[in-house]
């Protein structure tokens, strides 16, 4: 029996879940998705607030990359795509991007398929059919170098950077050693650490990309917030003892470990390298998770000190409490307690506990966020709507 197993996709990727994704192209048809969700709760029905009303090239690039990224996601075995018809990201524009997935895909459009009720009815039938079609796919041995693991932190306090992120960093190093790929983003929370990250880049080019990415994040914070830019950390963070963004950032970047940074990818972009990857994405948890998911990460570690229950629809999110108090208060939301580190638990033992849990989750054990259905799906935009 192999250490880890998953679902092999026709394009050579491996999933660790076998979801049927029911996805709207635009928020106007969210109600149709909700109807399908009530009828077929076992499907991964996802709604969002996007798909139209934004014309800037950057927003369009992100919109298409995120939607097609979810369709291509290795944890997705089949797709029901619900469009409206007149939206920017309509199915005609989206289809060329999702032609070669090798997955069963059903496309419906409310303006062509008889309105919302009729489309929901057809959607329910298609979702049930695809669920049954993919349900017989067996799990097979999963090579470690086919894994992309995301590291995320949110609702941070000073203990996030002391316990949870330090241990996640140790897990990151272990994964890279195994041949897996580790990705983390949140460029806002890299501000003040350019010198630390750039000296770990694999070459001058990657070092330059890291510096430019952080410079852009810093400039954006200053342009948007002016004199308040130094407080791009939330009041909760400060109550928790972090005084500056650089201090928060140091604790934040610890979660990626200390190996060589092999690539910087854009928001939602899939890495082509192995080892440690940085994503040029925002710090806001929901937006960040979507970018990391659209990149194809099959599993996410998510540390939290103040305590956020947020998960993601398609991938298991392992919640790492950074202090015992929040682990106890939010017991139903937290998968592991890194607060044990300050109570004398050795780092090595906690790391092993985290790796064991990760292997069980890869092999099918549900995380708390999966059990509770605490999915959040939202993504970054850069311009206001028209």
């Amino acid at each position: 029996m192999s250490e880890i197993n998953g679902y092999e996709r026709k394009n050579g990727k491996f999933g660790i879940r076998n979801h049927v994704l029911v996805l709207p192209t635009v928020s106007c048809v969210n109600g149709v998705i909700n109807r399908i969700s009530r009828e077929v709760p076992e499907a991964a029905c996802v709604t969002h607030a996007h798909g139209c009303g934004r014309g800037g090239l950057r927003d369009l690039e992100i919109l298409f990359r995120i939607l097609s990224g979810l369709v291509h996601h290795p944890n997705v075995g089949g797709v029901v795509l619900i469009g409206l018809g007149c939206e920017v990201s309509n199915t005609k524009r989206l289809l060329p991007l999702i032609k070669e997935t090798g997955k069963p895909i059903k496309v419906l459009n409310v303006q062509e398929d008889g309105g919302s009720l009729e489309t929901a009815k057809k959607g329910v039938a298609a979702t049930r059919r695809i669920l049954s079609e993919i349900s017989s796919q067996p799990r097979v041995a999963l090579p470690w170098d086919k894994l992309l693991i995301a590291m995320e932190c949110g609702g941070s306090d000073a203990t996030s950077g002391l316990t949870a992120n330090v241990t996640m960093g140790a897990v990151s190093n272990w994964l890279v050693e195994k041949g897996a790929t580790v990705i983390f983003g949140e460029n806002t929370e890299m501000i003040g650490t350019a010198h630390v990250l750039a000296r770990r880049a694999k070459n001058v080019e990657v070092a330059k990309q890291i510096e430019q990415m952080i410079e852009r994040a810093e400039k954006l914070a200053q342009d948007v917030m002016g004199n308040l830019a130094s407080w791009v950390i939330s009041p909760g963070n400060m109550d928790g003892g972090m005084s500056t963004i650089a201090e928060k950032s140091m604790g934040c970047i610890f979660k990626g470990g200390t190996t060589t940074i092999n690539q910087v990818v854009d928001y939602g972009e899939a890495p082509s390298e192995h080892g440690l990857i940085l994503q040029d994405g925002p710090g806001y948890d929901g937006d960040s998770m979507a970018g990391l998911a659209a990149s194809g990460s099959q599993l996410m570690f998510f540390s939290t000190g103040r305590g956020t229950p947020a998960g993601f629809p398609l991938l298991p999110v392992i919640k790492v409490a950074s202090n015992t108090r929040i682990y106890e208060v939010m017991k139903d939301d937290m998968d592991i307690n890194a607060g044990s580190l300050v109570e004398g638990q050795p780092l090595n033992r906690l790391r092993t506990e985290m790796i064991d849990l990760m292997i069980r989750v890869i092999n099918g054990e549900k995380t708390k966020a999966e059990v509770n259905g605490l999915d959040v799906f939202t993504f970054m935009t850069v311009h206001p709507p028209f």
Binding site: D157, S230, G240, G241, S243, I245, A246
Partner: protein, 90 residues
């Protein structure tokens, strides 16, 4: 005695309180002599490990995380009232 502060890196001039420290309570960590907290230090907040002069860099994780805005005595609470961001001045 159990440690009540954590020194993350040997270069650091601040440590992190593992729980709330009262005024006068000894701050304790492996490898250093205990020293009294000069004011109340909230849990997870920073305490000065030595005297820090105004304008000096605040080092945590072995890296610069802020700059002090006034002299800070060993044992004082180190937070937004006596430091500023190196990225952006207040």
């Amino acid at each position: 005695m159990k440690d009540n502060i954590l020194i993350i890196h040997s270069r650091d001039n601040v440590a992190v309180a593992l729980r709330r420290l009262d005024v006068g309570e000894l701050a304790i960590a492996k490898g250093i002599d205990g020293f009294p907290a000069l004011e109340e230090i909230p849990a997870s907040h920073k305490i000065a490990l030595r005297d820090i002069s105004g304008g000096e860099e605040i080092i945590k994780y072995g890296e610069i995380v802020a700059v002090s805005t006034r002299d800070i005595k060993k044992g004082e609470w180190v937070h937004t009232h006596n430091l500023e961001s190196k990225q952006w001045k207040k």
